[in-house]
């Protein structure tokens, strides 16, 4: 079913770089002072890769994600998606935030329609997708509920479904489940992995949980602070589909220890 509703729009070869970041710098101006938040970022993300941007607060991982999504403008350097320089938000990119930001005056169905409305898309056609998307995120039959009738976890599921409404090639997720309790969060992480694996979408996830990053990602970009820079670009080599059994492996422990070492956590 995932393949049907979320199939890729074009068949780009899997080895081709989809997101290309070269010599990227970002400085913010605050109270007349310039503050460098990202220094010399160089990255290539392939189509279908699951990438985590991991690092402590202030390492610029969220800023990097917003730059990729065209929500803020870079200082110097280049960000390209499918060989197009990113200047503004584009429709092949779907964003998801830590807060569900559902509109309280709209039902679940109307919230899901919103991205289609804003993109002046075909609403009647989009409505046919709603049922499938709701069952994909495990909330079948909730079309006519209002957001404030749903729990935090359910709201985040709706938020995920809304991001998938336009069937974007790339999902940019800014700590999407960060505000939820650990059980709900784990649950949603597995939902997300499932969707990502089966749809072949490129996922860039911002997180500050080392275990979450190791469990979910094909690659982890470990970032440091002052200014934000890349410490290491790690490949995480586990078979898919991933299960929590990998937590018990030697390799998992080694990845965890290595990242903790990089970030200077523990003793």
């Amino acid at each position: 079913m995932v393949n049907e509703i979320l199939k890729s729009s074009d068949e780009v070869s899997t080895n081709q770089s989809q997101i290309t970041i070269t010599n990227l710098y970002k400085t913010f101006e605050r109270d007349g002072k310039e503050k460098e938040v990202l220094r010399d970022i160089n990255l290539n993300f392939k189509k279908g890769e699951f990438i985590s941007l991991l690092g402590p607060s202030g390492c610029g991982k969220s800023t990097l994600l917003k730059l990729i999504g065209g929500l803020i403008t870079k200082s110097t350097g280049s960000i390209q998606i499918d060989s197009q320089e990113v200047k503004d938000p584009i429709s092949k990119v779907g964003f998801m935030f830590q807060k569900a930001v559902l509109l309280p005056w709209r039902t679940v169905e109307q919230n899901l329609i919103l991205p289609i409305e804003l993109a002046k898309g075909n609403i009647a056609e989009a409505k046919l997708r709603i049922k499938d998307l709701l069952s994909l995120v495990g909330l079948e039959g909730y079309e006519h509920y209002y957001p404030n009738e749903l729990s935090g976890g359910m709201q985040q599921r709706i938020s995920l479904a809304r991001t998938l409404m336009t069937n974007p090639d790339i999902l940019l997720l800014d700590e999407p489940f960060g505000a939820l309790d650990e059980f709900t969060r784990e649950n949603l992480n597995f939902s997300l992995m499932d969707i990502a694996e089966k749809s072949g979408k490129t996922v860039v996830l911002v997180t500050h949980s080392i275990s979450e990053a190791v469990l979910m990602s094909d690659r982890i970009i470990v970032m440091g602070i002052n200014p934000g820079h890349i410490l290491e670009d790690m490949k995480i080599d586990f078979q898919k589909p991933r299960t929590d059994k990998i937590i018990a492996t030697e390799k998992y422990a080694q990845y965890m220890l290595h990242i903790r070492d990089l970030l200077g956590v523990g003793r």
Binding site: I90, Q98, S151, N187, F190
Partner: protein, 268 residues
């Protein structure tokens, strides 16, 4: 694919309403006040010219309600109030929209807004009479002046209260400026706008009455003035009670409208 099961699918249940003892005590207090009032008046502890008893006042109220002249005067006051309210609300909302969408205008006008807000609007009544005479216009302008700010300030605050996350979301979904306004800013501001409207509707009535006090040949304010001069205090009290009931009804109407339109703030 199989549906993903969720562990957090509980639905929030609204709490059942309980009739509280406070309501009963409020009612008892009301009865006590009425009895005390009647006693004070009936046994001439307070002179009946100053404080006619509730029974007398209620009698006068029905007398007034049966008189045709009452309704023509009420109509004038209601017209002034509602016209002032409608015009004042439209002005304030439109001006708030303009001011918020042009940031420079907001910065330039802000000091003036703060100063004008501080002016006791009632003190302007004599000026309005000088400008517009003793007709309806002066009263409507008075009502507009007094009910402008609550809605204006609330609309500005409401439009500015759109949170950054929602703005980012709309931006990420490539929303047009028009959609951003119609589908995000305006609905976000609606609860604030209604809070302003609720306050300003009763303010508009105050404006109309004060305007009539300055000089009028029709209206409830004029009637109060006249009866006051004739020392028919029972009728003055009766009119004040009727005005209060009208103000309450207007308020309840706006509140009903608020609940209908801004339904989503209800069960939070």
């Amino acid at each position: 694919m199989k549906a993903i099961t969720t562990s957090e699918q509980e639905i929030k249940i609204p709490k059942p309403k309980i009739i509280r003892i406070e309501y009963l005590l409020s009612l008892l207090l009301l009865v006590f006040i009425l009895v005390l009032w009647e006693v004070l008046s009936r046994f001439k502890i307070v002179h009946e010219l100053i404080l006619p008893g509730p029974m007398v006042v209620i009698g006068s109220m029905f007398e007034l309600l049966a008189a045709p002249f009452f309704y023509s005067n009420l109509g004038v006051t209601l017209f002034e109030t509602l016209a002032g309210f409608a015009l004042g609300s439209i002005f304030s909302i439109v001006l708030a929209l303009i001011v918020v969408s042009v940031p420079i205008l907001y910065k330039v006008l802000n000091p003036f807004i703060i100063i004008l807000q501080a002016v006791p609007k009632v003190a302007l009544a004599p000026i309005f009479v000088t400008w517009f005479g003793f007709g309806l216009t002066a009263k409507i302008v008075m009502a507009i002046a007094i009910c402008f700010f609550p809605t204006f300030i609330n609309t500005v605050v409401g439009l500015k209260s759109v949170d950054e996350d929602s703005k980012l979301l709309f931006q990420s979904m490539v929303a047009s400026k028009k959609d951003l306004f119609l589908k995000l800013s305006l609905p976000t501001a609606l609860p604030y706008i209604f809070a302003g409207l609720k306050a300003s509707l009763t303010f508009a009535l105050i404006g109309a009455i004060v305007g009539e006090f300055m000089g009028a040949d029709k209206g409830i304010g004029m009637l109060i003035n006249t009866f006051n001069f004739q020392l028919e205090m029972d009728k003055v009290y009766a009119l004040i009670i009727i005005l209060s009931i009208i103000a309450l009804l207007l308020y309840l109407f706006i509140e009903w409208l608020d609940k209908k339109i801004v339904f989503w703030t209800d069960n939070k």
